[in-house]
Amino acid sequence: MLASLHGFIAAAHLTTRELPLFGCPIPAGFPSPADDHLDAPLDLTRHLFRHPASTFLARVSGDSMIGAGIHPGDLVAVDRALRARDGSIVVAVVEGEHTIKRLQLRAGLPWLVAENARYPPLAVDRDLGLAVWGVVTHVIHALAPEGAGSGPWAAGR
């Protein structure tokens, strides 16, 4: 029992430095033919956090960016170290509040534009450095709702 629990945790929580010890801890029985060919399972955090120190995760509230595929409740990865460019989706500070919008240059002036017709564009009225908190690099959208009853092991199936 303990051996299988340890195996599960080892697979799920690998760092890219370690190779998994899938070999059985009890030194009897046949070694797996896969043992010599193991690759570390893919690590999603390395993919999302190119700059771990400056990347923050946030949850999206509101539907202002739904046209860009960013839905309420989605997770976004926001990197403060990237420079925002024309067309970047950014987290901006507007009147002391955070908001997620696309940065657009119109006639050389910066605007924060929604991807939802219900929201008007906002002119950036101060130093762009102060207005932009960070650049959104990834959005994680769950296709199936989270919670009990959604997995193949849920009761009642």
Partner: protein, 442 residues
Amino acid sequence: MFALVDCNNFYVSCERVFAPQLAGKPVVVLSNNDGCLISRSDEAKQLGLKMGEPYHLVRPLLEQHRVQVFSSNYALYGDMSRRVVQVLSGFTPGVEVYSIDEAFLDFGGLRLVEKDLLAYGIRIREAIARATGIPTCVGIAPTKTLAKLANRRARLHGTHGVLLLETPAQWRAALAQTPVGDLWGVGRRYARKLTEMGIATGQQLADLPEPWLRRHLGGVVGQRLWRELHGQPCLAWNPAEWADDDHLAPDAASRHSVTCTRSFGRPQREEAALREALATFAAKAAEKLRRHGLAAHLVTVILGTDRFAPAVGPATHTAVVSLPTATQDVALLTRAVLRGLRQLRRPGVAYHRAGVLFSGLEPAGKAQLGLFAGTAADQQRSQQLMTALDKLNARFGRQTVRLAAAGVGKQPDGQPTPPAWAGRAAYRSPLYTTAWHELWTV
């Protein structure tokens, strides 16, 4: 050359990263249990609020000036500190974390590549501000003591918050403007003694002969101070070593004990509450032991009564339990803690704080096997259990898996019930970066 980088008003600055509307406003952060002020924004300092002032005493002033008050959010501050240190390590391999908001950098042979250290310091400051939003000051000098001095003066006398003291003339001028008590390594008692002798500034102290400092300032400690003030580095260097998940592993050999103590929100008399509290502290301290690869022989249980009540005898009581072999197993350590509690607790007494202290430390896995310690298979099982425990808690959140002794209550939202003995934190901001259920929202 060394640099000392420190974060300005660190806890307040962390709060401001996620609450940008607080820029330019007076903000304070309260200590554990909302006891006193431990961080103040510049605007709050200008209102006359002092470090360490008890919250209940300054509350009218805070309300009058609409000062924003936060309870300490250590999960957030710890995460932001980790990020700052990660940025620093991109500038030099030698980073020594001094406290949650300060680190020394060893520039070593950087001089050969970077001719302009002042510009380098400015780049460091800008990189931290860009990556984390935390404002910092940088002091650069040939020794740690002088770097700390340079950092202290960087705010008012530096260029963009960075001050470089390169030549003896530069650091002597800085020392001349520094009261001797403000020097790193000169404590209050020594400062008083020196001022009484007419030695008021750092320069006056540095001008004295080395044997004088050796004689009057604690022997070799005084001698090291003299050398540091003269640009000769001789303090120990304890660089951070990167461990898993980019968590820092401070030099394990230098630890003498691992502790976890807390003040209670309300005094506790009942055995059940004390057992639960101490089991929780034991679990946290045991986790710290494992994180540093250490095992403990000695378990000290601490109970404190009201420090401020007029009473007979000491306010703090301890019991020590010694273990046959050093261990990092939470079950064994908790059992020892609860045994100590049973010895220590006096019925009817109200306790205001409690804690555990694990000492007699040695590297885990090298413990001598005792006659009654159990077999090697038992030890391996215990190790596997502890590893699984730590990984589950790292993945699903602190205290997800714990001994029942540490409390089992759960709230409707699935979070553990805050225990009866937990400290007050009435104004804590969300765990923006460390908890899924309190994640920063945009």
